[in-house]
Symmetry: C2
Subunit: 219 residues, 2 copies
Protein backbone atom coordinates (compact mmCIF):
# COMPACT_ATOMS: atom_id res chain seq x y z
CA UNK A 1 0.00 0.00 0.00
CA UNK A 2 0.99 3.63 -0.24
CA UNK A 3 1.51 4.68 3.37
CA UNK A 4 2.31 8.16 4.66
CA UNK A 5 3.87 8.20 8.10
CA UNK A 6 3.58 11.60 9.73
CA UNK A 7 6.23 12.27 12.34
CA UNK A 8 9.98 11.72 12.18
CA UNK A 9 10.49 10.79 15.83
CA UNK A 10 11.34 7.31 17.01
CA UNK A 11 7.78 6.02 16.57
CA UNK A 12 7.39 7.40 13.06
CA UNK A 13 10.75 6.16 11.85
CA UNK A 14 10.19 2.73 13.41
CA UNK A 15 6.82 2.31 11.69
CA UNK A 16 8.06 3.74 8.40
CA UNK A 17 10.99 1.33 8.40
CA UNK A 18 8.78 -1.65 9.23
CA UNK A 19 6.24 -0.81 6.53
CA UNK A 20 8.98 -0.18 3.95
CA UNK A 21 10.54 -3.51 4.85
CA UNK A 22 7.21 -5.20 4.16
CA UNK A 23 7.16 -3.78 0.66
CA UNK A 24 4.80 -0.88 1.23
CA UNK A 25 5.48 2.37 -0.57
CA UNK A 26 6.25 4.67 2.34
CA UNK A 27 6.56 8.43 2.60
CA UNK A 28 7.90 9.89 5.83
CA UNK A 29 6.41 13.30 6.50
CA UNK A 30 7.54 16.18 8.62
CA UNK A 31 6.69 19.81 9.21
CA UNK A 32 9.35 20.97 6.81
CA UNK A 33 10.52 19.58 3.49
CA UNK A 34 14.16 19.33 4.55
CA UNK A 35 13.84 17.64 7.95
CA UNK A 36 17.23 16.04 8.62
CA UNK A 37 15.81 12.83 10.10
CA UNK A 38 13.45 12.37 7.16
CA UNK A 39 16.17 13.06 4.59
CA UNK A 40 18.51 10.58 6.28
CA UNK A 41 15.77 7.96 6.59
CA UNK A 42 14.78 8.26 2.93
CA UNK A 43 18.43 7.92 1.88
CA UNK A 44 18.67 4.71 3.87
CA UNK A 45 15.48 3.31 2.36
CA UNK A 46 15.65 3.22 -1.43
CA UNK A 47 12.22 3.64 -2.98
CA UNK A 48 10.88 5.44 0.06
CA UNK A 49 10.06 9.12 0.01
CA UNK A 50 10.06 12.05 2.38
CA UNK A 51 8.49 15.47 2.34
CA UNK A 52 6.13 17.77 4.13
CA UNK A 53 3.03 16.36 5.81
CA UNK A 54 1.04 17.50 2.77
CA UNK A 55 3.57 16.08 0.27
CA UNK A 56 3.51 12.54 1.64
CA UNK A 57 -0.23 12.55 2.36
CA UNK A 58 -1.28 13.55 -1.14
CA UNK A 59 -0.91 10.19 -2.86
CA UNK A 60 -1.15 7.94 0.19
CA UNK A 61 -3.90 5.39 0.79
CA UNK A 62 -3.16 5.16 4.50
CA UNK A 63 -1.91 7.99 6.73
CA UNK A 64 -0.27 7.09 10.03
CA UNK A 65 -0.28 9.80 12.67
CA UNK A 66 2.92 9.24 14.61
CA UNK A 67 3.38 12.83 15.68
CA UNK A 68 3.34 13.88 19.31
CA UNK A 69 -0.24 13.93 20.55
CA UNK A 70 -0.18 17.60 21.43
CA UNK A 71 0.88 18.63 17.90
CA UNK A 72 -1.14 16.05 15.97
CA UNK A 73 -3.99 18.38 15.08
CA UNK A 74 -1.52 20.90 13.72
CA UNK A 75 0.31 18.21 11.76
CA UNK A 76 -2.91 16.86 10.26
CA UNK A 77 -4.06 20.38 9.46
CA UNK A 78 -0.80 20.84 7.59
CA UNK A 79 -1.42 17.53 5.81
CA UNK A 80 -4.73 19.05 4.78
CA UNK A 81 -8.37 18.04 4.97
CA UNK A 82 -8.42 17.50 1.20
CA UNK A 83 -5.45 15.17 1.37
CA UNK A 84 -6.97 13.18 4.22
CA UNK A 85 -10.44 12.83 2.73
CA UNK A 86 -11.53 9.22 2.28
CA UNK A 87 -8.24 7.91 3.65
CA UNK A 88 -7.58 5.55 6.52
CA UNK A 89 -5.91 7.62 9.24
CA UNK A 90 -4.15 5.37 11.74
CA UNK A 91 -3.70 7.30 14.96
CA UNK A 92 -0.97 5.74 17.11
CA UNK A 93 -0.30 8.85 19.20
CA UNK A 94 -0.99 9.73 22.81
CA UNK A 95 -1.88 13.23 23.99
CA UNK A 96 0.70 13.43 26.76
CA UNK A 97 1.46 16.75 28.40
CA UNK A 98 4.97 16.77 29.91
CA UNK A 99 4.84 20.48 30.79
CA UNK A 100 4.56 19.72 34.50
CA UNK A 101 7.22 17.02 34.40
CA UNK A 102 7.04 13.28 34.74
CA UNK A 103 4.66 11.49 34.77
CA UNK A 104 2.89 13.42 32.02
CA UNK A 105 -0.83 14.07 32.09
CA UNK A 106 -3.15 12.57 29.50
CA UNK A 107 -4.91 15.51 27.86
CA UNK A 108 -8.56 15.24 26.84
CA UNK A 109 -10.44 17.50 24.47
CA UNK A 110 -13.69 18.50 26.18
CA UNK A 111 -14.05 14.88 27.25
CA UNK A 112 -13.06 13.49 23.84
CA UNK A 113 -9.97 11.45 23.12
CA UNK A 114 -7.41 12.79 20.67
CA UNK A 115 -8.56 10.27 18.07
CA UNK A 116 -12.15 11.52 18.35
CA UNK A 117 -10.94 15.11 18.19
CA UNK A 118 -9.07 14.29 14.99
CA UNK A 119 -12.15 12.59 13.55
CA UNK A 120 -14.29 15.63 14.44
CA UNK A 121 -11.80 18.00 12.83
CA UNK A 122 -11.45 15.87 9.69
CA UNK A 123 -14.84 14.23 9.13
CA UNK A 124 -13.72 12.96 5.72
CA UNK A 125 -10.92 10.89 7.26
CA UNK A 126 -11.51 7.33 8.41
CA UNK A 127 -9.76 7.38 11.77
CA UNK A 128 -8.64 4.18 13.47
CA UNK A 129 -6.91 4.23 16.85
CA UNK A 130 -4.37 1.50 17.44
CA UNK A 131 -0.85 0.65 18.66
CA UNK A 132 -0.84 3.54 21.17
CA UNK A 133 -0.68 1.21 24.18
CA UNK A 134 2.88 -0.05 23.71
CA UNK A 135 6.39 1.11 22.92
CA UNK A 136 7.41 1.38 19.29
CA UNK A 137 9.71 -1.66 19.24
CA UNK A 138 6.81 -3.88 20.28
CA UNK A 139 4.49 -2.28 17.70
CA UNK A 140 6.56 -3.62 14.83
CA UNK A 141 7.87 -6.83 16.42
CA UNK A 142 5.28 -8.27 18.80
CA UNK A 143 7.29 -11.49 19.06
CA UNK A 144 9.96 -9.74 21.14
CA UNK A 145 7.56 -9.89 24.10
CA UNK A 146 6.41 -13.36 25.22
CA UNK A 147 2.80 -14.29 25.83
CA UNK A 148 -0.52 -13.56 24.24
CA UNK A 149 -0.32 -9.79 24.60
CA UNK A 150 -2.68 -7.75 22.49
CA UNK A 151 -3.12 -4.70 20.32
CA UNK A 152 -6.36 -2.74 20.53
CA UNK A 153 -8.23 -1.31 17.55
CA UNK A 154 -11.06 1.20 17.63
CA UNK A 155 -12.83 3.19 14.95
CA UNK A 156 -16.17 4.10 13.41
CA UNK A 157 -15.41 2.75 9.90
CA UNK A 158 -15.41 -1.04 9.73
CA UNK A 159 -13.67 -1.16 6.35
CA UNK A 160 -10.94 1.12 7.67
CA UNK A 161 -10.50 -1.13 10.69
CA UNK A 162 -10.16 -4.10 8.32
CA UNK A 163 -7.36 -2.30 6.45
CA UNK A 164 -5.61 -1.61 9.75
CA UNK A 165 -6.06 -5.18 10.93
CA UNK A 166 -4.37 -6.29 7.71
CA UNK A 167 -1.46 -3.93 8.31
CA UNK A 168 -1.13 -5.19 11.89
CA UNK A 169 -1.09 -8.75 10.61
CA UNK A 170 1.81 -7.80 8.37
CA UNK A 171 3.69 -6.48 11.39
CA UNK A 172 3.29 -9.87 13.04
CA UNK A 173 0.12 -9.49 15.08
CA UNK A 174 -1.96 -12.70 14.98
CA UNK A 175 -5.66 -12.07 14.36
CA UNK A 176 -6.57 -13.53 17.75
CA UNK A 177 -4.47 -10.87 19.46
CA UNK A 178 -6.00 -7.90 17.65
CA UNK A 179 -8.82 -6.79 19.96
CA UNK A 180 -11.56 -4.72 18.36
CA UNK A 181 -12.90 -2.43 21.08
CA UNK A 182 -15.65 -1.04 18.88
CA UNK A 183 -16.16 2.55 17.82
CA UNK A 184 -13.77 5.44 18.13
CA UNK A 185 -14.97 6.44 21.61
CA UNK A 186 -12.88 3.44 22.72
CA UNK A 187 -9.82 5.62 22.13
CA UNK A 188 -10.71 7.29 25.44
CA UNK A 189 -10.01 3.96 27.12
CA UNK A 190 -6.73 3.22 25.38
CA UNK A 191 -5.37 6.77 25.71
CA UNK A 192 -6.19 6.61 29.43
CA UNK A 193 -4.10 3.45 29.69
CA UNK A 194 -0.97 5.58 29.39
CA UNK A 195 -0.68 6.36 33.13
CA UNK A 196 -0.60 2.63 33.90
CA UNK A 197 1.87 2.00 31.08
CA UNK A 198 4.14 4.71 32.46
CA UNK A 199 3.89 3.30 35.99
CA UNK A 200 4.78 -0.17 34.77
CA UNK A 201 7.65 1.27 32.76
CA UNK A 202 8.97 2.64 36.04
CA UNK A 203 8.28 -0.51 38.05
CA UNK A 204 9.68 -2.94 35.45
CA UNK A 205 12.63 -0.82 34.35
CA UNK A 206 11.87 -1.49 30.69
CA UNK A 207 9.35 -0.40 28.09
CA UNK A 208 9.61 -3.78 26.40
CA UNK A 209 6.32 -5.10 27.73
CA UNK A 210 2.70 -5.24 26.77
CA UNK A 211 -0.71 -6.05 28.17
CA UNK A 212 -2.57 -9.32 27.75
CA UNK A 213 -6.22 -9.94 28.52
CA UNK A 214 -6.89 -13.27 30.23
CA UNK A 215 -10.49 -14.46 29.95
CA UNK A 216 -12.24 -17.16 31.94
CA UNK A 217 -12.95 -20.22 29.80
CA UNK A 218 -10.43 -19.18 27.14
CA UNK A 219 -6.86 -20.28 27.54
Amino acid sequence: MRIAVLGTGEVGRRLATAFAGLGHQVGLGSRTADNAEAVKWAEEHPGAAHGTFADVTEDAEVVVNATGGLVSLAALTAAGADGLRGKVVVDVSNPLDFSEGFPPKVVTFDGLSLAERIQAEFPGARVVKTLNTMTNTVMVEPGRVPGDHVVFVGGDDEAAKAVVTGLLGGLGWPAARIVDLGDLTSARATEQLMPLWLRLYGALGTGDFNFAVCVSGRS
Copy 2:
Protein backbone atom coordinates in the same frame (compact mmCIF):
# COMPACT_ATOMS: atom_id res chain seq x y z
CA MET B 1 -6.97 -10.41 61.35
CA ARG B 2 -9.85 -8.20 62.35
CA ILE B 3 -11.17 -6.83 59.08
CA ALA B 4 -13.93 -4.27 58.59
CA VAL B 5 -15.50 -4.34 55.15
CA LEU B 6 -17.35 -1.12 54.39
CA GLY B 7 -20.10 -1.53 51.83
CA THR B 8 -22.80 -4.17 51.55
CA GLY B 9 -22.96 -4.32 47.77
CA GLU B 10 -21.72 -7.26 45.74
CA VAL B 11 -18.06 -6.30 46.14
CA GLY B 12 -18.27 -5.82 49.89
CA ARG B 13 -20.19 -9.04 50.50
CA ARG B 14 -17.86 -11.01 48.23
CA LEU B 15 -14.76 -9.78 50.03
CA ALA B 16 -16.34 -10.17 53.47
CA THR B 17 -17.32 -13.74 52.67
CA ALA B 18 -13.87 -14.59 51.35
CA PHE B 19 -12.08 -13.11 54.35
CA ALA B 20 -14.47 -14.81 56.79
CA GLY B 21 -13.87 -18.11 55.02
CA LEU B 22 -10.14 -17.66 55.52
CA GLY B 23 -10.65 -17.35 59.28
CA HIS B 24 -10.44 -13.59 59.58
CA GLN B 25 -12.75 -11.86 62.04
CA VAL B 26 -14.94 -9.83 59.71
CA GLY B 27 -17.40 -7.02 60.33
CA LEU B 28 -19.57 -5.89 57.44
CA GLY B 29 -20.38 -2.21 57.71
CA SER B 30 -23.14 -0.11 56.26
CA ARG B 31 -24.58 3.35 56.60
CA THR B 32 -27.25 2.13 58.99
CA ALA B 33 -27.12 -0.41 61.80
CA ASP B 34 -30.00 -2.46 60.43
CA ASN B 35 -29.03 -2.79 56.76
CA ALA B 36 -30.92 -5.83 55.47
CA GLU B 37 -28.03 -7.16 53.39
CA ALA B 38 -25.63 -6.85 56.31
CA VAL B 39 -28.02 -8.50 58.75
CA LYS B 40 -28.61 -11.40 56.36
CA TRP B 41 -24.90 -11.77 55.64
CA ALA B 42 -23.98 -11.82 59.34
CA GLU B 43 -26.66 -14.45 60.00
CA GLU B 44 -25.14 -16.64 57.28
CA HIS B 45 -21.62 -16.26 58.65
CA PRO B 46 -21.42 -17.31 62.30
CA GLY B 47 -18.77 -15.38 64.15
CA ALA B 48 -18.97 -12.47 61.74
CA ALA B 49 -20.43 -9.13 62.74
CA HIS B 50 -22.30 -6.28 61.12
CA GLY B 51 -23.01 -2.71 62.10
CA THR B 52 -22.56 0.88 61.07
CA PHE B 53 -19.37 1.97 59.35
CA ALA B 54 -18.18 3.30 62.73
CA ASP B 55 -19.21 0.13 64.61
CA VAL B 56 -17.21 -2.26 62.46
CA THR B 57 -14.24 0.07 62.04
CA GLU B 58 -13.70 0.64 65.75
CA ASP B 59 -11.91 -2.62 66.59
CA ALA B 60 -10.64 -3.50 63.13
CA GLU B 61 -6.99 -3.74 62.15
CA VAL B 62 -7.74 -3.48 58.46
CA VAL B 63 -10.56 -1.47 56.88
CA VAL B 64 -11.63 -2.34 53.33
CA ASN B 65 -13.40 0.40 51.43
CA ALA B 66 -15.82 -1.44 49.17
CA THR B 67 -18.36 1.36 48.95
CA GLY B 68 -19.21 3.07 45.69
CA GLY B 69 -16.43 5.45 44.77
CA LEU B 70 -18.67 8.50 44.76
CA VAL B 71 -19.85 7.87 48.34
CA SER B 72 -16.59 6.55 49.76
CA LEU B 73 -15.54 9.82 51.39
CA ALA B 74 -18.91 10.04 53.12
CA ALA B 75 -18.68 6.41 54.23
CA LEU B 76 -15.18 6.86 55.63
CA THR B 77 -16.21 10.09 57.31
CA ALA B 78 -18.99 8.11 58.98
CA ALA B 79 -16.43 5.46 59.99
CA GLY B 80 -14.54 8.33 61.60
CA ALA B 81 -11.01 9.69 61.45
CA ASP B 82 -10.37 8.39 64.98
CA GLY B 83 -11.44 4.90 64.02
CA LEU B 84 -9.28 4.91 60.90
CA ARG B 85 -6.14 6.29 62.53
CA GLY B 86 -3.13 3.99 62.18
CA LYS B 87 -5.13 1.40 60.30
CA VAL B 88 -4.54 -0.15 56.93
CA VAL B 89 -7.30 1.14 54.65
CA VAL B 90 -7.62 -1.03 51.57
CA ASP B 91 -9.34 0.97 48.86
CA VAL B 92 -10.83 -1.31 46.22
CA SER B 93 -13.34 1.21 44.88
CA ASN B 94 -13.57 3.15 41.63
CA PRO B 95 -14.96 6.68 41.38
CA LEU B 96 -17.38 6.00 38.55
CA ASP B 97 -20.06 8.54 37.70
CA PHE B 98 -23.03 6.88 35.96
CA SER B 99 -25.13 10.06 36.00
CA GLU B 100 -24.75 10.52 32.25
CA GLY B 101 -25.34 6.85 31.49
CA PHE B 102 -23.05 4.09 30.31
CA PRO B 103 -20.08 4.08 30.03
CA PRO B 104 -19.56 5.96 33.28
CA LYS B 105 -16.92 8.63 33.66
CA VAL B 106 -13.96 8.20 36.00
CA VAL B 107 -14.11 11.12 38.42
CA THR B 108 -10.93 12.78 39.61
CA PHE B 109 -10.50 15.07 42.57
CA ASP B 110 -8.57 18.14 41.41
CA GLY B 111 -6.28 15.76 39.55
CA LEU B 112 -6.02 13.31 42.44
CA SER B 113 -7.29 9.76 42.43
CA LEU B 114 -9.95 8.74 44.91
CA ALA B 115 -7.35 6.85 46.94
CA GLU B 116 -5.18 9.95 47.23
CA ARG B 117 -8.23 12.01 48.13
CA ILE B 118 -9.05 9.52 50.90
CA GLN B 119 -5.44 9.66 52.12
CA ALA B 120 -5.53 13.47 52.15
CA GLU B 121 -8.80 13.48 54.07
CA PHE B 122 -7.61 10.90 56.61
CA PRO B 123 -3.86 11.44 57.01
CA GLY B 124 -3.77 9.00 59.93
CA ALA B 125 -4.97 6.13 57.73
CA ARG B 126 -2.51 3.96 55.81
CA VAL B 127 -4.23 3.79 52.44
CA VAL B 128 -3.42 1.04 49.94
CA LYS B 129 -5.10 0.87 46.55
CA THR B 130 -5.64 -2.59 45.15
CA LEU B 131 -8.11 -4.99 43.48
CA ASN B 132 -9.98 -2.16 41.73
CA THR B 133 -8.99 -3.36 38.26
CA MET B 134 -11.11 -6.51 38.16
CA THR B 135 -14.56 -7.83 38.91
CA ASN B 136 -15.27 -9.07 42.43
CA THR B 137 -15.38 -12.78 41.57
CA VAL B 138 -11.82 -12.58 40.26
CA MET B 139 -10.67 -10.61 43.31
CA VAL B 140 -11.35 -13.53 45.63
CA GLU B 141 -10.68 -16.41 43.22
CA PRO B 142 -7.93 -15.48 40.77
CA GLY B 143 -7.72 -19.09 39.60
CA ARG B 144 -11.05 -18.77 37.81
CA VAL B 145 -9.24 -16.81 35.10
CA PRO B 146 -6.39 -18.59 33.26
CA GLY B 147 -2.97 -17.08 32.73
CA ASP B 148 -0.55 -14.96 34.69
CA HIS B 149 -2.93 -12.04 35.21
CA VAL B 150 -2.05 -9.59 37.93
CA VAL B 151 -3.28 -7.46 40.78
CA PHE B 152 -1.79 -4.01 41.29
CA VAL B 153 -0.88 -2.52 44.66
CA GLY B 154 -0.05 1.10 45.41
CA GLY B 155 0.45 3.06 48.60
CA ASP B 156 2.75 5.32 50.56
CA ASP B 157 3.18 3.01 53.58
CA GLU B 158 5.40 0.00 52.85
CA ALA B 159 4.32 -1.89 55.96
CA ALA B 160 0.68 -1.39 55.03
CA LYS B 161 1.38 -2.69 51.53
CA ALA B 162 3.01 -5.75 53.08
CA VAL B 163 -0.16 -6.41 55.11
CA VAL B 164 -2.24 -6.11 51.96
CA THR B 165 0.11 -8.36 50.01
CA GLY B 166 -0.38 -10.95 52.72
CA LEU B 167 -4.15 -10.67 52.49
CA LEU B 168 -3.97 -10.99 48.70
CA GLY B 169 -1.85 -14.10 49.09
CA GLY B 170 -4.57 -15.56 51.27
CA LEU B 171 -7.10 -14.90 48.51
CA GLY B 172 -4.94 -16.94 46.13
CA TRP B 173 -2.74 -14.34 44.49
CA PRO B 174 0.82 -15.65 43.98
CA ALA B 175 3.50 -13.17 45.02
CA ALA B 176 4.82 -12.98 41.44
CA ARG B 177 1.46 -11.71 40.27
CA ILE B 178 1.13 -8.94 42.84
CA VAL B 179 2.59 -5.90 41.08
CA ASP B 180 3.73 -3.07 43.33
CA LEU B 181 3.29 0.14 41.34
CA GLY B 182 4.86 2.30 44.02
CA ASP B 183 3.30 5.14 45.93
CA LEU B 184 -0.34 6.09 46.12
CA THR B 185 -0.22 8.38 43.10
CA SER B 186 -0.26 5.10 41.14
CA ALA B 187 -3.96 4.89 41.98
CA ARG B 188 -4.46 7.49 39.25
CA ALA B 189 -3.22 4.89 36.78
CA THR B 190 -5.33 2.00 38.04
CA GLU B 191 -8.50 4.06 38.45
CA GLN B 192 -8.05 5.29 34.87
CA LEU B 193 -7.92 1.68 33.72
CA MET B 194 -11.69 1.45 34.26
CA PRO B 195 -12.65 2.79 30.81
CA LEU B 196 -10.62 0.01 29.17
CA TRP B 197 -12.04 -2.57 31.57
CA LEU B 198 -15.57 -1.45 30.70
CA ARG B 199 -14.83 -1.57 26.96
CA LEU B 200 -13.44 -5.09 27.25
CA TYR B 201 -16.45 -6.10 29.33
CA GLY B 202 -18.56 -5.02 26.37
CA ALA B 203 -16.33 -6.60 23.73
CA LEU B 204 -15.87 -9.92 25.57
CA GLY B 205 -19.39 -10.22 26.91
CA THR B 206 -18.11 -11.16 30.35
CA GLY B 207 -16.49 -9.48 33.32
CA ASP B 208 -14.62 -12.67 34.13
CA PHE B 209 -11.29 -11.49 32.79
CA ASN B 210 -8.19 -9.73 33.97
CA PHE B 211 -5.05 -8.06 32.69
CA ALA B 212 -1.63 -9.64 32.46
CA VAL B 213 1.64 -7.84 31.85
CA CYS B 214 3.99 -9.64 29.46
CA VAL B 215 7.62 -8.56 29.72
CA SER B 216 10.45 -9.18 27.28
CA GLY B 217 12.96 -11.64 28.68
CA ARG B 218 10.54 -12.92 31.32
CA SER B 219 8.23 -15.76 30.35
